[in-house]
């Protein structure tokens, strides 16, 4: 069954702009993306690709008077089954959804944790606000959540302050906070980027387990293709504000059909293979040039100046997303020739 038939999150034609001194720039330019219950979708890209702006747009956390949604819809199905367009909601309505129907985890746990409150109080807070629970039962739920996210000695830890916890423990605590009200959607924006690799493995493992147990949808924003392969069912690769390739992770990584995805995968040194490459005198397949500035985008396909497949037609118009198959799409007019 196509999970997209009944998405909990359905983004259509999202366009997010920023007002700068130099004028308006388009950070996200017409994104279509959906997440079904029980599904993890990774949004992957480099700096300035628009991946985080997309997630901020969904959460309604764009900086007021600077960032704004200029077009498109973000339909979200909340716990009660009601489907609403988040773009049309006011601040108060969004606040009720955030932390209740949508949980959020960010790269830096200290950006979500308040240093002057205990960890337990902070996890209990959304339960008291959204669930109308009394202080004691909210605290008991908080301790239960800390236990679920793998914090040993949860009751003692609940009484501690964020600075008394290690980086990995803090990220577990923010996950507990995000899950406090049983959200249907978890948005995780680079949640393991600041962590050491052995701690990253723990957190990824935890998120996979929680997502399965709870049947949540998860929108996972990352720059790390290895992390995508570990955690996601589907992947959307972003470049310069647009999705350039989308499909099931195994399919996209095995059979990339956009030159940018192909280039990203080829440019990473592979563990266990790098010695052979070095001995054979092979260079890493770097992508030439730099990511274009959003204020100064090339005509047509934004990747064309760096693309070895580019022809005149690529510069003439922005390519549409072409169907490679029913699940897999590429924004490249030469996708049939692209491959490994």
């Amino acid at each position: 069954m196509d999970k997209r038939a009944d998405p909990i999150l359905d983004i259509r034609g999202l366009r997010t702009i920023f007002r700068t001194r130099g004028g308006e720039i388009t950070a996200v330019d017409g994104i279509d993306l959906s997440v079904a219950a029980g599904e993890t979708v990774a949004l992957v890209g480099e700096s300035g690709s628009g991946k985080s702006v997309t997630s901020l747009s969904v959460m309604g956390l764009l900086t007021r008077n600077v960032g704004a949604i200029a077009a498109g819809s973000i339909h979200f199905k909340s716990k009660d089954g009601a489907v609403r367009d988040l773009v049309t909601l006011d601040d108060e309505q969004m606040r009720r959804i955030r932390g209740d129907d949508i949980g959020m985890v960010f790269q830096e746990p200290m950006s979500s944790l308040n240093p002057v409150f205990t960890v337990g109080d902070q996890i209990a807070e959304p339960i008291r606000i959204h669930r109308d629970a009394d202080r004691k039962s909210a605290m008991n739920s908080a301790v239960g959540l800390l236990d679920q996210v793998g914090i040993p000695d949860a009751r003692r830890r609940a009484g501690q302050y964020p600075h008394e916890l290690s980086g990995g423990m803090r990220q577990r605590a923010t996950i507990a906070m995000a899950l406090a009200c049983d959200p249907t959607l978890l948005i995780a924006d680079e949640p393991t980027t600041a962590l050491d690799v052995t701690i990253q493995a723990q957190i990824l493992d935890l998120l996979i387990k929680l997502q399965r147990e709870r049947g949540m949808g998860m929108l996972f924003v990352t720059h790390n293709l290895g992390v995508v392969a570990e955690i996601a069912h589907r992947v959307a690769v972003m470049y310069a504000g647009r999705i350039v390739e989308e499909g099931p992770v195994a399919e996209v990584f095995r059979n990339p059909r956009h030159p940018y995805t192909l280039g990203l995968l080829a440019s990473m040194p592979r563990l266990g293979d790098a010695t052979r490459m070095k001995q054979a005198g092979q260079k890493l397949a770097a992508i030439p040039g730099v990511v274009p500035s959003l204020a100064d985008m090339p005509d047509g396909c934004a990747f064309s100046p760096r693309c070895s497949y580019a022809i005149d037609a690529c510069r003439a118009a922005v390519p549409a997303l072409a169907e490679v198959n029913t699940m897999h799409r590429s924004r490249c007019i030469r996708w049939q020739e692209v491959g490994r």
Binding site: D196, Q202, A229, E230, S267, L271, K278, A286, I287
Partner: protein, 318 residues
């Protein structure tokens, strides 16, 4: 390593006292680097890899131990003597945004070291700066521009060019590609490897990314909580890791290869604090194969096969 070592580090230690607590940042670090060799230092936060790199150049003063560079003991040199040695040893920093002054032109940044060393006339120094820019594939005219006019990858090239103007023989590269986007990382890795081979540089390459280290380094040193866990050639370390920590570290790295085995070995717990390191083997509190004995003795770094050393008492694993 048949040739005499170019850099010899023996029993290097670094302790800090912070609010009355002694922190053991490095303990008993010994290794050699041969001329023209690239040695990788890998480890997670608190492993001490950056402290080793900085101690070698005396950007931090080691608490004890010896650092011998091309026959000269560096730890006892006076400031003036050290300054005379510095042109031969250069440092490349991680953050290309923080390490270049926004107020100086690229030319001023690149010639600053030469000026301090009193090398050449102004014109000769600028020629060297232009030449260094060309070596890192940037236009020579960049000398008249400012850092903010360049992208992250270009800035890191400028950081590399700055190290090259002094024609060093030895470079410490501290996470030189970690702040860069994936598509730019490969460009800078290729450049560093190219320069190293072309100029015959000896390099200490510090990174938390084991795949990058495998590609660029001849030998790798694995650190955990300020101690060496394993030393091996890149070929051996990745094909036949011997220390339980090296094995766990390698298996924790997420691979984008859909065919890669997903049997990750997940280490429990956190990296302990250097204020309170475990007794015996510092890794034992997270080690999946630790024994009672591991708490009692600090394992010696022993050669377990030619050129491969591990600090672990378990010889019965495989």
């Amino acid at each position: 390593m048949s040739a005499a070592p170019f850099l010899t580090i023996r029993d290097l230690a670094k302790h800090y006292v912070s609010r009355g607590t002694k922190l053991n940042i490095l303990e008993g670090i010994s290794f050699d680097i041969a001329k023209g060799e690239v040695v990788g230092l890998v480890g997670e936060s608190g492993s001490g890899k950056t402290t080793i790199g900085r101690s070698v150049l005396r950007l931090v003063e080691p608490s004890s131990g010896s650092v011998e560079f091309d026959g000269t003991e560096l730890t006892t040199l006076s400031a003036a003597q050290m300054r005379r040695t510095r042109p031969r040893m250069q440092y490349i920093f991680q953050d290309p945004f923080a390490s270049l002054s926004p107020r100086m032109t690229i030319g001023e940044i690149l010639t600053e070291g030469l000026k301090i060393q009193g090398i050449g006339t102004r014109k000769e120094r600028m020629d060297r700066a232009r030449n260094a820019l060309v070596q890192v594939d940037l236009p020579a005219e960049a000398v008249n521009r400012y850092a903010h006019e360049f992208s992250g990858g270009q800035r890191q090239r400028i950081g590399i060019a700055r190290a090259l103007t002094l024609a060093p023989e030895f470079i410490v590269a501290d996470e030189p590609v970690s702040a860069l986007d994936v598509s730019i990382q490969a460009q800078v890795i290729n450049l560093l490897r190219d320069l190293q081979q072309r100029l015959g540089l000896t390099m200490l390459f510090i990174s938390h990314d084991l795949a990058v280290v495998e590609y660029i380094c001849d030998r790798v040193i694995v650190l955990y909580l300020g101690r060496i866990m394993e030393i091996a050639s890149s070929a051996d370390l990745y094909a036949r890791p011997q220390h339980p920590y090296t094995r766990a570290l390698l298996s924790a790295i997420p691979s984008p290869d859909p065919n890669a085995p997903r049997n990750r070995q997940i280490l429990k717990g956190d990296i302990p604090s250097p204020a309170n390191p475990p007794s015996g083997c510092v890794f034992r509190t997270r080690c999946p194969v630790a024994l009672e004995a591991c708490a009692h003795t600090v394992p010696e770094l022993r050669e377990v096969s030619p050129g491969q050393f591990k600090a672990c008492i378990r010889d019965d694993l495989n």
